[in-house]
Symmetry: C2
Subunit: 210 residues, 2 copies
DNA sequence: GTCTATATTTCGATAGAC
DNA sequence: GTCTATCGAAATATAGAC
């Protein structure tokens, strides 16, 4: 009936099932928080019996850890556009575009991350102290170089990064509030463009490159 | 031994006790989320037996509702500086200062609000649709008037408001991440000034008033 | 008004048939 | 690999002595 040997096809099927569960879990964790989420809710969302989840993920925390880790990976990749740029106008502009697009496409993931950090990062503290810390130092150095070369106004690079994170992620984390203030409707294609352009306009002019 | 009559002094004592419980609850809700918070944790934080909480607040949700409502009140008062100003440089500058100060003084409250909105505002949806919606419309109109009078660059007022909320609240909601990236230490007095000035510098230059 | 003890429910996790 | 049934722990809420 079934085998435990990890032939490529079997392994891929398992990965596919895991991905299906992870997707359901991401949504439930985002909507209810870690404490408010229940394995029953996640099972219902995935259309599986509760015990099946425990077959693929031993504990609720294991499942949660995977969700948070996956989000973090997406975040890191968004930074690639930052480094390839010749200057702040292109680099920071492209970074805003990329982060806004992630907020639009992965609002659940952004909320899970926000919730995790707000509660003191009990699960991903090591990521903050190592990977994120190193990434931030690198970007701070790059921005400082742009400032030293006279390519942008002298703004504290660290606080500028916080502004970029805050403004772009706001559209994911607070999308319910934004929708409510938009007559209860999600932002249209046109409104998303307007949002991106507004953020870029203020920030880029704010650092003296537009 | 005790009376149930609501003499002013008795009533004030009850209010004082309620305030003590609310303060403990705010901290626990912020650190654990609504689902993760337990009445036992709140009771321990307040130094009271668990059953005592149920005497003052019938259910966990009642207690939570009060915490969120109190935070919302603080937010609304922060906007007073906005309206009294003659123009955007003073109005928006003072608003940033006020919101940053709230993030510093009431980080727990900001997190409870953020968590509530992120989870779809199950408790305060009516506030969003009425009070916050009206407040936002008023401020959008004011900013638009400043633009029409040539006092600032033509920026979408609604998205500018979102940027102000996002950047200022970020210092409360993500203070754990900011501390971790600050060698594990809270921002010093000097660093808070630097944060405020950085945000104001980028935003005010970004809307063409500095 | 306060607190101990407990009733009731719900959740995470597992056992075991298929 | 999948699912039903259930165990044991923990949480909300209440009963009732003081």
């Amino acid at each position: 009936m079934s085998v435990t040997a990890l032939s490529p096809r079997r392994s891929s099927q398992r990965a596919q099932k895991e991905q299906h569960i992870l997707s359901a879990a991401e949504k439930v964790f985002a909507e209810a928080g870690f404490g408010g989420a229940t394995m029953q809710l996640i099972a219902d969302m995935a259309g599986l019996p509760k015990a099946n989840l425990h077959y693929y993920f031993a504990t609720k925390e294991d499942l949660y850890r995977r969700v948070v880790r996956d989000i973090f990976e997406i975040w890191l990749h968004a930074a690639d556009v930052f480094d390839a740029a010749p200057g702040p106008a292109e680099g920071i502009g492209a970074y805003i575009d990329a982060k806004m697009e992630i907020s639009r496409r992965h609002p659940h993931g952004s909320k899970v991350w926000a919730s995790e950090v707000m509660h003191g990062a009990p699960v991903i503290q090591d990521y903050l102290e190592t990977t994120l810390n190193d990434w931030t130092d690198g970007r701070v150095a790059l921005i400082q170089r742009w400032i030293d070369e006279g390519k942008m106004a002298p703004v504290n690079p660290r606080h500028l990064l916080y502004m970029l994170w805050a403004t772009t992620q706001h559209y994911a984390d607070f999308n319910h509030q934004i929708e409510t203030l938009n007559h209860g409707k999600p932002l249209s294609e046109r409104q998303w463009r307007e949002a991106k352009n507004s953020v870029k306009a203020v920030i880029l002019r704010g650092i003296g490159v537009a």
